[in-house]
């Protein structure tokens, strides 16, 4: 059985700016993780169901449109409903400082704004993804 960390990278909402999502997907793959990229225009339901089907350890959400305070709570709620509480959710994109405490409160601690080194994201995921048996 593969011990690789499994990551679902998703683009929720209507935004199509996928440069960041694709660069991160490739960087995580090059770092030895198993990466599933959902493509564009995913609802929280679609993302959580992809995580379930793919047995993901980590969900990476790329959000640049300002919709994170709507999308993140819904994803966290659905994960809880499906019993996937131990799936680590990280987000990347344009996230104002004022939203950080609220996102932390939901259990999202890996929040990466523009300019974050890729190695930093790889290290964070490696340290925080649930242990694979």
């Amino acid at each position: 059985m593969s011990q690789k960390i499994r990551v679902v990278i998703a683009k929720p909402g209507l935004d199509g700016h996928d440069r960041g999502a694709k660069v991160i997907a490739r960087a995580l793959r090059d770092a030895g993780m198993e990466v599933i990229y959902t493509g564009l225009r995913q609802t929280p339901e679609m993302i959580v169901s992809a995580a379930l089907q793919e047995d993901a350890d980590v969900i990476g959400l790329s959000i640049l449109s300002g919709a994170h305070m709507h999308i993140c709570p819904r994803v966290m709620e659905l994960l809880k409903e499906k019993g996937l509480d131990d799936v680590q959710v990280v987000i990347g994109g344009i996230i104002p400082d004022v939203d950080l405490p609220k996102l932390n409160g939901m259990g999202i601690r890996g929040i990466f704004i523009p300019g974050t080194p890729m190695q930093h994201i790889i290290d964070y995921i490696t340290a925080n993804a649930r242990a694979r048996v």
Binding site: G13, L14, D15, G16, H17, D18, R19, K22, V23, A25, R26, A27, R29, V35, Y37, G39, L40, R41, T43, S65, G66, A67, H68, M69, H70, I71, R74, I94, P96, D97, V98, I113, P114, G115, P117, M118, Q119
Partner: protein
């Protein structure tokens, strides 16, 4: 003393031997790499040797227009200072426009929110949290009336960044103009209306490529008759560059997109000289100063030659490439945001030295949020300082004849022709996109750039070098959900108050034309007059044509 060997050397080779090599032995150069932001190697010195054999760049106002389309450059008319803005409700954005006009802005540029750009009404499930966030929400003619309240469409030019729903939004603008009593024959402005770069880069597509191309040629034909001064398309490299392409890829793919539109127009039975003069372009201005200037100069020559020789255009206006420029959003950093003012000023200067016809300068806080009123003003002031204080506007194409610039310009031209040959070999740009060719090229370039940043081969001040630990956060524009609730309520009220039978009839008429081969602008104007929503009009066409889904390329 001159030896035999000396006479066999060029001036540059002799200099390298006699002057450079001893100097390098004493003090070597920095490690480099000395490459542009696009990864192109740059020589240490350009001399007459580097331009030997190149054709003379000619003069401004003359074919092939390398040095500009106007004989007087900016001495006649400065570029249009067109600041892109939009957020929240139509009323909030209307206020920002009135502010920009009062501050000396000379054209409007509308940013729509994602639901509008994607042809969805705010009550669709994918619009969760998106209404009024990245731009202004425009659902129906009623919102367009609010957006331009107190602004005379006869007296201002408006650029609208809208692509898949361009025909619907344009129809709304035309109806507002009609209500104000403005003449369609004299109003002017631009719709972006460039779907190919959406498939390639920004991904705001709705319908499949061929149906999308038909909407565009319908607009070409409609405007040639009805709105002759309107710029029917702004073929855009901006988004291609933001998605991570090199400068050369931006140039080559954008102009090749332009050729594709011309070909589709010709295939639809239009005369080149009837619609090409109303085509315009939109480029990025990134941080690599000289590479950008060369790109704009090359663009003019490539377009002029392609129109004249490939399409047999006879009207000089068809040969003249006009373009808008926006400084590179992707170059802005969330870290030490005030540094972005300097980046933007340099990028704006490159666009001006390249002869841009209009310009948007980004605000310092745009890696964090939409700009505040204050930062948007500094961005406009940056253009005004270049225009009125720097003196760069006095002489036309002031860098023309520089060995370096002319060499770079020629290399941009040669590289573009190579890309065109590849794309022509695939059958055209639509076919290349269907194969994922430009998408793959861009994804690869963007990954290579990111790797270079990680290795610090490319320095980004404040991000991978000169990092500051104790940064104080700046105040940003925070857009709450008020706009969303206002727009949702308005949508419900609209559906109560309008004549819904009329809406149904006009939508049916739209579907009938879309299934046949009439011009879709005609039934769309009727839908708009009946206050059909953007979502309803797009849904009607989704029923006829289906929706496009891409296979993602990583």
């Amino acid at each position: 003393m001159k030896t035999v060997a000396d006479s066999a050397l060029t001036g540059k080779q002799r200099w390298e031997r006699d002057v450079l090599e001893p100097a390098l032995r004493k003090s070597p150069e920095r490690e480099g790499p000395f490459t542009t932001i696009s990864g192109r190697a740059i020589d240490r010195l350009y001399t007459a040797d580097d331009v030997a054999g190149l054709r003379d760049a000619g003069n401004p106002g003359e074919f092939p227009y390398v040095r500009g389309i106007h004989p007087t450059g900016y001495r006649g008319k400065l570029w249009t200072m067109r600041q892109f803005a939009g957020f929240g409700t139509p009323e909030e954005t209307n206020q920002r426009y009135l502010d920009l006009i009062a501050a000396g802005g000379t054209g409007l540029s509308v940013a729509f929110d994602l639901p509008t750009l994607m042809g969805r009404d705010p009550d669709h499930e994918l619009c969760l949290g998106e209404v009024g966030k990245c731009g202004v929400s425009v659902m129906s003619l009623a919102d367009m009336e609010r957006l331009f309240a107190g602004i005379s469409l006869a007296d201002i030019t408006t650029s609208m960044t809208i692509n898949s729903p361009a025909p619907m939004i344009f129809a709304m603008y035309l109806v507002v103009a009609e209500q104000q009593g403005a003449d369609w024959k004299t109003i002017s402005g631009t719709i972006q209306n460039d779907i190919l770069k959406e498939f390639i880069a920004q991904k705001e597509y709705i319908f499949p490529p061929r149906a999308s191309m038909r909407l565009i040629t319908d607009i070409f034909a409609f405007c040639a008759e009805e709105v002759p001064k309107w710029n029917t398309i702004s073929v855009s490299g901006y988004h291609i560059r933001e998605a991570g392409s090199t400068a050369l890829q931006e140039l080559a793919f954008t102009l090749r997109d332009g050729l594709e539109y011309v070909q589709y127009g010709v295939d639809a039975g239009l005369d080149v000289d009837d619609f090409v003069p109303r085509m315009s372009f939109f480029f990025n201005s990134h941080s690599d100063f000289f590479e950008e200037i060369a790109k704009y100069r090359a663009a003019r020559q490539l377009w002029a030659e392609a129109m004249k020789h490939r399409f047999g255009a006879k009207n000089p206006r068809s040969w003249q490439l006009r373009f808008h420029t926006q400084t590179a959003g992707v170059s802005l950093t969330a870290q030490q945001p005030y540094n972005n003012v300097v980046r933007t000023a340099l990028q704006a200067l490159a666009a001006v030295l390249g002869g841009t016809n209009s310009l948007h300068t980004n605000s310092l806080d745009e890696a964090l949020a939409l700009p505040t009123r204050e930062t948007a003003t500094i961005a406009l002031r940056t253009q005004q300082i270049i225009a009125h204080e720097s003196g760069v506007t006095h002489a036309v194409d002031p860098l023309g004849g520089s060995y370096f610039i002319e060499r770079l310009t020629q290399d941009m031209i040669d590289g573009t022709l190579k890309y065109w040959a590849t794309i022509d070999g695939m059958g055209g740009m639509v076919e290349a996109i269907e194969r994922g060719y430009p998408q793959k090229e861009i994804a690869e370039a963007s990954y290579q750039f990111q790797q270079a940043v990680e290795r610090k081969e490319k320095v980004i001040v404040g991000v991978n070098e000169f990092v500051q630990a104790d940064e104080k956060p700046i105040e940003i524009l925070y857009i709450d959900d008020t706009a969303s609730s206002v727009q949702l309520q308005r949508l419900a009220e609209l559906k109560q108050s309008r004549d819904n039978d009329r809406v149904r009839r006009t939508l049916e008429a739209l579907k009938a034309v879309a299934s046949g081969d009439g011009n879709t602008m005609v039934p769309l104007l009727e839908c708009v007059r009946a206050y059909a929503t953007v979502g309803e009009m797009c849904d009607a066409l989704r029923e006829v044509w289906g929706e496009y889904e891409e296979v993602p390329v990583i």
